[in-house]
Every structure is written in C-alpha cells, then in structure tokens.
C-alpha cells in the first residue's frame, strides 16, 4: 500500500548514522600516531551527503513510513537541510580549531553527527514516542559535546548543568506525552489531532500540552526556562555553541510547530496566549540581561534567548502563516548565529583565555577580515536591512501583525532597538583603535580552508536570506502547508468544556 520503501523515509538519518559509525570505527582502528583530523572530513562529507539525501526526498510522495511514525514532507526536508547545513558548517569550523593534540577528536566528530541524527529524526517524527527517542539521541550527544573541554572546570560545570536541567525538561516532555496518551489513547500525532475534540478528559490534555511545552521551551531556551543558556554557552567551546545554539533549537522549534499546529490546533485559544507571554518575556528578559554582560558568549547567549522570543512572535500569525515565518526565522537565525560563533572561535581560540567584550577591542585593526565579518554578523543580528536577520524579523513581525498582535510587535521592535545597543557596543569595541599599551592581545588564528569555507557559507546564507529570500520563503511556505492548520475563521469553541 505504501510504494515508498521505509528506508527512503529516513535516508538522511541513515546516511548520518553510517558516517558517524564510520568515524567511530576508524578512530578506534587507526594507529594512535595518525592524525585524527581527516575523520572530521569524513563526518563533513557524511553531512553533505545527508543534505543531498534530504533534498532528494522532495521527489518522494509526501507520506509516512515505519507504520506511520516518520514523515517526509516539505516541512521535514526544510528542517533536515537546515540542520545538516548547520552541522556541516560546525564540522568545518571544528576541523581547523580543535587543537591538534586534543584527544578523542574522533569522538567529537562522531558525536556531532549522532546528535544530528537525533535532531533530524525529531523533525520527521509524527509519533510521540519516536519524538522522545529522537530528542534523547540529540540531547545525549550535545550533553557530551558541551563537556568536551573537560580540562576546564567551566566545561564540566556546563555539561553537568545542561545534563541535569535537560533531563528534567525531557522528563516533563515525557510526562506530557503520557498524559496525552492517557486522554486520547494514542501517541500518533495525526490520531491525537482527531481525537482531541472528542476527548472526555480535557484537563488531562491541557496538562499534557503544558508539560510538553515546558520540555520544548527548555530546548529552545525561552524564558522562563532559559537559565541554563548563559552558563552552558560560556563553558562549552565556541564551535559546540555554534551547533547547540542553532541546530537543536531548530529541531525543537520544528517539534513545537508540529505539536501546536498539527497535534493540538484546536487548543489554539490556550497555547496562543501562553506563547504570547513567553515571547514577550523571552525578548525582554533576554535583551535586558544581555545589556549587562561583559563576556561575549554570555551576551550572545542572552541574545539567543531574545531571538527565540522574536521567533515565537510569529506564531501569533493567522492560520499557518506562523509556520512559514517561524521556519524562515530559524533559518536566518541559524545562519547569522553560526557565523558569529565562527568568528568568535577564530578570535578567541580554542581555550578562550580572553573571553571579554573589551578583549575584542581593535579587532578591525588587528584582523580586518575577522573584524568586518564580526560587524557584518552583528549587523544581521541587529536587523540591518538586506541581511537575513532583518528579513527574518520583518517576516515574523509582519505575520504577527497580520494576526492582529500589534502590541506584541510593538514590544518586539522596541526590544530590537534595545538589542541594538549591546550588539552595537560589541561592534564599536571591535571597530575602535586598539590601545597602544596592551601588548598581550589575542592574536587571531590563521583562517584555514575548512573554516574559511564554513564562514563563507554562513556569510552567503546570511546575505542570501536578506537579499533574495524568495526561495527559502517558498520552501518554508510549502512546509507550512504540509502541517495542517485550521482555517483562521474556524475558531474552536471553548476548549475548557468537555464536548
């Protein structure tokens, strides 16, 4: 009945898994005096192939596989391509910046790829247990990656914090799944969507939704589940932060979209105001806290919290327009965020002895290219036109206004004005003439081929999303149409009453 072999439905995941396993086996079997750097190339090639595989999936008819647990559609392909792209750039970045003598380099590459498997699977899963498993696959890999710099106390601290809080969050998610299963008798997302309007015990579903939201909002580091973010970003090495600040978030947002638009569209009157509040809190708290930071990565951590808020604002849009805007935003956010962390990696080096904003003073003078790139990515984060950041914000706010959420957008744009202050402070510090007395400044590393390619991809993506966003917008729109949102006028009756 299903002409497409199941394996095709998870082809990118299979490719990623195989390349991860290959990296692990090679790492174990190669003589110990051989450099482990080529393994990174294996992983990079694997993620490139996975990216092609997901694009190829567009030629498949839309549908599910493995007894209705995984789906391929324009939506999943969009996020697969995004995640594989992020992973590829992260790998390229790590290739040149992991110190040559760092042990277990092979493990690092394998973990990145395995994490990607989980994230990809998360966006494709249409069954809640698989969702949970995928989330765990991605989380466990990222917990280890965060603690990869284990010589430093901060690295270990970050990993433990991330692990403990993350476990709690996944537990919440699992509990939510259990409650929803209890109320509807199924874990399949489509079946739940059909069962919810007729469910007897509506309170159970609401509780389930609430708990699942806690788990997901933790992963996207939205306020009030954001406290782990700055510590983890500070402790983890910059290439890892480039990964965990974007790819798992993209996957978690995909899950969020699926849960609210596909699984529980009838509960819109419940989740819409909730997410409104979370969006406003995330923007405001994130930006206010970022203003006070002196450490670059902590500042960017708070900025990423604020960006989660801008993204959530899109969900106030009419019908399924929010999906399109949110998908686009996450792509734009990923491009510029990976880019800026790439620059930070190159300027601060692997061990980050000088992590403060003030330490970047005069970067434009010491390394004009890195300085210009830093300013470019900051400009995108601020939302200067003709960059991805601007267009993402624009489309998100425009969608929200279309949904009538004027105040949300007003708060959003004022917040982006506030955010400009700290981004600009960093940009201006970098543009300032270096002080003559300070002799011991960080010497930016040589930019190698791999990292150069990674940076180039980030710059190209950021510019392309700002100047010619048409293609990505269309892809996001196609993805949005595969998640079934209720027509706007078909507002549900009071969900608090059992029907």
């Amino acid at each position: 009945m299903n002409p497409v072999p199941d394996l095709y439905r998870i082809l990118p995941e299979v490719v990623l898994t195989l390349s991860g396993v290959a990296v692990m086996l090679l790492d174990a079997s190669l003589p110990s005096y051989w450099a482990r750097r080529p393994l990174g190339w294996v992983a990079a090639i694997g993620s490139t192939l996975a990216l092609w595989a997901s694009l190829w999936q567009l030629s498949l008819p839309e549908g599910t596989g493995f007894s209705g647990t995984v789906e391929t559609s324009a939506f999943t392909v969009f996020f697969h391509v995004l995640i594989c792209g992020i992973v590829l750039v992260t790998l390229l970045l790590s290739l040149d910046t992991l110190p040559e003598d760092s042990h277990h380099q092979g493990e690092f590459y394998a973990l990145v790829v395995f994490g990607a498997v989980g994230m990809c699977l998360l966006t494709a899963a249409v069954e809640l247990l698989l969702v949970f498993i995928a989330l765990e696959i991605s989380s466990i890999a990222t917990y280890v990656l965060v603690g990869y710099r284990k010589q430093t106390a901060r690295g270990a601290e970050a990993a433990i914090k991330y692990f403990l809080l993350g476990s709690f969050a996944t537990a919440f998610l699992l509990y939510g799944i259990a409650l929803i299963f209890g109320a509807t008798g199924t874990t399949e997302i489509y079946a739940i969507a059909q069962a919810v309007p007729f469910a007897v015990n509506h309170a159970l579903i609401l509780a389930g939704l609430g708990l699942m939201l806690v788990g997901i909002l933790f992963k996207v580091s939205a306020v009030p589940f954001h406290v782990w973010t700055p510590d983890v970003y500070e402790g983890a090495s910059s290439p890892v932060v480039a990964l965990i600040s974007t790819a798992p978030k993209a996957a978690a947002f995909a899950l969020l979209l699926r849960v609210i638009y596909e699984m529980l569209p009838t509960l819109r009157p419940v989740w819409s105001p909730l997410l409104w509040v979370v969006a406003v809190l995330s923007m405001t708290v994130g930006n206010l806290a970022a203003l006070r930071q002196t450490n670059v990565k902590r500042m960017l951590a708070y900025s990423s919290i604020a960006h989660a808020g801008y993204l959530l604002a899109a969900l106030a849009g009419l019908g399924n327009e929010g999906i399109m805007a949110a998908s686009f935003y996450i792509a734009a956010y990923a491009a510029m965020n990976v880019g800026i962390f790439a620059v930070i990696t190159l300027t601060q080096g692997y061990d980050e002895r000088r992590p403060l904003i003030a330490d970047l003073r005069g970067l434009v003078y010491r390394s004009p290219m890195l300085g210009s790139l830093l300013i470019f990515f900051l400009a995108s984060l601020i939302g200067i036109p003709f960059t991805g950041g601007f267009f993402g914000k624009f489309i998100s706010f425009s969608t929200a206004i279309g949904g009538g959420a004027i105040w949300l957008v007003m708060i959003g744009v004022l917040n982006s004005g506030l955010a400009a202050a700290y981004y600009l402070r960093l940009a201006l510090v970098a543009a300032q003439r270096p002080e003559q007395e300070v002799k011991e400044t960080i010497a930016p590393q040589q930019v190698g081929i791999a990292v150069g390619a990674g940076l180039l991809m980030a710059v190209a993506a950021t510019l392309a999303l700002g100047i010619l966003p048409g293609t990505v917008l269309r892809a996001a729109d196609a993805g949005a149409h595969t998640l079934e949102a209720p027509p706007a006028e078909n507002a549900p009756v009071n969900p608090m009453l059992p029907q």
Binding site: I382, F386, G417, L424, L473
Partner: protein, 500 residues
C-alpha cells in the same frame, strides 16, 4: 535612450556598491582606495545628472519618471520599485554631488583603514540614494535603516575624541524611532496588502482604513522622521555626532533624508493627519530656529556651533514644510539643496582647518585671513550663502519659506522665525570674525601658511559657483521642484477640506 532611462536608477544605486566591492578588493597602497572612491562617486554624480537632463516637465508627463518596478519577493509582496519626481530629483543629484566632495574632504584626513572607510562610505551613498528613489515602503525602510549602520561604525572608528559613545548615541537615537515606523508600515500592509506608495496613497485617501489607528500610524512616521531631521526637542544626538563624525559624513548626516521623508511619506501619505499635527510642528520649528540660533551664539567649539546652526536651519525648513503652503514647500526643497551645498563647503573648510591645527576651539584661532587668504575668501562666501544674503543661494529658499509662513500660517510665527535668521547672521559672522580676523593667535603663528591646494580648489570653486547660481537663477531648480510639490498640494487640499 529608453534602455538607459529604464535602468538609470538601478545603475545609480549599484554604482557605489560596485565601488565599495572594488575598494575592498584592492590593496591599501598609494591611496588606491581614495582614487577608486573618487572615481566611483564622480561616475555616480554623472549618472545622477542624467536625471535632470531627461526629466520631462510637460504637463502630461507621468508624475514618477525613470520608473522601475519588479516583483522582489512574492509573499509578502515587496517590489523593487524606484522612481523620481520633482521632489526627489534634485535631492538625488545633491547626494551625487556631495559624495565626491566627501571623498576629497577625507582625502588626507583618513589615514588608516582607508579600505573600510571608503567601502562603508560608498555603502552609505547607496543607502541615501535608495531612500530618495524607493517608492515601495519596505524598500524605502530597508534603505532608511541601512543608512544608519555605516554611519555609526564610521563615527566610532574615526571619532575625534570619544567616537564609540557618539556612535551609540546616534544609532540609538535614530534606530529606536524607526521601530514604530516599521510597525506602522507593517500595519498598513496588513490592512491593505501593499507596500506601494501610490496604492497606499489611494487607500488612505479613500477613507477605508480605520481612522484611530491611522492617526497613530501617521504619528509613528512623523516621529521617525522628526528625530532624523532633527526637530526640537529630538536633537539630542546632533551636537555629539557633528563633533565626532568624519567631515564627509557630518555634512550628510542631518537634514535631507528626514525632511524629504516628511514631505513624501508623512504629508504625502497622510495629508489629513499631517494637517492635524502641523500647528504643533510649526511651533516646534520656530522654537528650534530660535533655540538653535541662541545656542550657536554661545558655542566655543566650531563643530558644535555648526550643529546648532544646522538645528536652526533645519527647523526653518521644517517650518516651510508644515506651513503646508505651496511656496513654503518649494522653498523648503530649495533650502534643502542650498543647505547641502553650503554646508558641504563649510564643512570641507572647517575640516581642513581642523586637520591642520588639530583643534576645534574657536578661541585658539584668530587672524587666519592674512595667512590663508583663499580659505578665508571661500569661507566668507559660504557663510554669506548660509545666512541668506540676496543673490546668494540662501536667500531664495529662506525668503520663500518666510513668505509662505507669513501669508499662509501666521504673521507672528513668521516674525519669530525671521528673528532666527538675524541671529543666524550674528553667530556665523562672529565665527568668521573670531577665526579669520583679529590678532593672530599663537597657534596660527606657530604653523606655516599652507593655503588651499589645487584639488581642494577644484572642489570648492564649483560649489561657490553653485551658491551664486542658486541665488541668481533659482528657476533652474524651482521649475522641477514645482512639478513635485503640486500633486502633494492637491491631495492635501482635497483631503484636508474633505475631512473637515
């Protein structure tokens, strides 16, 4: 010729960007970036001159000419829509003219990181040209915002004393008000499904949009523009920016973008709402004229003096705009042009003085006229142009604005504004007196005489000719400007009366 007419605006926009890329690619040796920037800006200027040469002033000519309109993004529908009318035509040329002057002003003043300076300077040119050319609101907003970033970075990098602080102040002052502007534009789009200027004009005029929110939308537009001009009391960023910004940027930072936007997008789009707030703006403008002039009188630093002088002059133009008279509007546009030219010359000269003597304290100067006669001559001519001496460029616009105010608004306001003009003569002449005449100061005596060189003369001489030409033959410009402001006038009258 049609081919050129169809693509000229795109060429004008792209030319500085291409130059910026070239500047980034060449090595920073032998002033190569300077030469490329000069060549690019001159080429852009020549391209902008194509516009007045082929602009049709016939009665049946379309309002917007050289129009380009292509779908840029399908959903939301954003068009790459450019065009010029009588309102923007000469402003585009003015931007084109000031760009090479800016390059010459930076020739020796910018010594390090020339590539970054000129690349950003050229991006800034594109942004400003884009503001004047865009007829799609979203495109316009894009260029409007884009004009902020290079400016802020350049102020921070090349600031004289505390660049980053001034840059942050400038950026926040101008960036935050554009947030409500974006919301307003998005609201209009949500209600109408269009960002197109002409379409929106019809929508607003049709009265189909709810009046309450529309009022706020108009205010959001006005607020963003008023900060950018700046209008009293939103001028907090001006003095710091003038004293820190490189000369090439200080001469373009204030005024024309905001004033043009007021005419086109505030009065042009929301005539009824503009009519409602006009009395307030007239009042603020007169306060700004007098306040700026009084503060300029007591400044001891010539950059700050120029800043408050600019506040005073720009307020006068605002008065012309919100007097809502045809004469006032023509005078206002004319005055923007004149302000650009005269300020360009004055800034260039002050920049040279600063470069040579490394101070902007007026008290440190004195008796320069004997040592630098050419500088003094040009400075005096530009000063006289600024204070509105008849037969020089400043007179025509000032007279038209005051006339429009006197006959169309109120005699009291016009008289108060005239007082500002008198004060203007006082502070400018006293500036000339303190710098160029009187006993020779120690600083001046200490340095060898080094008057204007050939390159600088080559720039200043055309400016001076222009100052005279604008005073003697204003119709050269006014004929085109008229075609731009007439449609505005009609829509205001029609809708303004209709609303009452």
């Amino acid at each position: 010729m049609n081919e050129i007419n169809n693509s000229i605006l795109t060429l004008i926009l792209l030319m500085p960007l291409v130059g910026a890329l070239l500047v980034l690619l060449v090595p920073d040796r032998a002033k190569l970036p300077n030469w490329i920037a000069l060549a690019t800006t001159l080429a852009t200027f020549v391209l902008t001159l194509h516009l007045p040469a082929h602009f049709s002033r016939a009665a049946d000519a379309p309002r917007f000419q050289f129009e380009v309109s292509r779908l840029w993004i399908e959903k939301p529908a954003i068009f790459y829509h450019l065009g010029v009318d009588g309102l923007s035509l000469w402003l585009v040329v003015l931007v084109g003219l000031l760009a090479p002057i800016g390059v010459v002003a930076s020739w020796n003043a910018i010594k390090e990181r020339r590539k970054i300076f000129f690349a950003l300077f050229l991006v800034q040119q594109t942004a400003m040209l884009g503001v004047f050319l865009s007829l799609d609101l979203m495109l316009y907003y894009g260029f409007w915002e884009l004009s902020l970033a290079p400016m802020a970075i350049l102020i921070a990098m090349y600031g004289r004393k505390d660049g980053p602080r001034a840059a942050l102040k400038f950026f926040l002052f101008t960036f935050i008000p554009s947030a409500p502007l974006l919301v307003a534009i998005l609201w209009l789009y949500a209600k109408t499904g269009s960002f197109d200027f002409a379409t929106l004009q019809l929508w607003v005029a049709s009265g189909a949009l709810p009046a309450g929110p529309l009022c706020w939308v108009a205010l959001a537009f006005l607020f963003a523009f008023a900060v950018k001009v700046p209008v009293f009391p939103l001028h907090g960023w001006l003095a710091d920016t003038f004293s820190e910004a490189p000369v090439a940027l200080a001469m373009v930072v204030a005024g024309k973008l905001g004033l043009y936007s007021m005419l086109r997008f505030h009065i042009g789009l929301f005539p009824a709402q503009a009519r409602a707030v006009a009395p307030l703006l007239v009042g603020l403008a007169v306060v700004g004229i007098l306040y700026g002039a009084c503060l300029a009188l007591v400044q001891s630093d010539f950059w700050r003096l120029m800043a408050f002088a600019a506040l005073s002059h720009l307020s006068l133009i605002t008065l012309g705009i919100y007097g809502l008279t045809l004469t006032g509007w023509e005078g206002a546009v004319y005055q923007i042009l004149k302000h650009g030219v005269v300020d360009g010359a004055l800034f260039l000269l002050l920049g040279l003085l600063y470069e040579r003597y490394q101070t902007s304290e007026i008290a440190a100067y004195g008796g320069l006229a004997a040592k630098l006669p050419r500088t003094a001559t040009f400075f005096v001519i530009a000063t006289l142009g600024m204070i509105g001496l008849p037969i020089l460029g400043g007179f025509v616009g000032e007279f038209m604005i005051l006339l429009g105010t006197f006959t169309g608004v109120s005699k009291g306001w016009a008289m108060a504004a005239t007082l500002g003009v008198i004060l203007g003569a006082a502070y400018m002449l006293s500036l000339v007196q303190r710098i160029f005449y009187g006993p020779e100061s120690g600083l001046v005596a200490a340095k060898a005489a080094d008057d204007l060189r050939l390159g600088q003369l080559a720039v200043l001489a055309p400016l001076v000719v222009l100052i005279f030409a604008m005073g003697v033959a204003p119709m050269l410009w006014l004929r085109t400007i008229e075609t731009g402001v007439h449609p505005q006038r009609l829509s205001t009258l029609f809708y303004g009366e209709g609303a009452r």
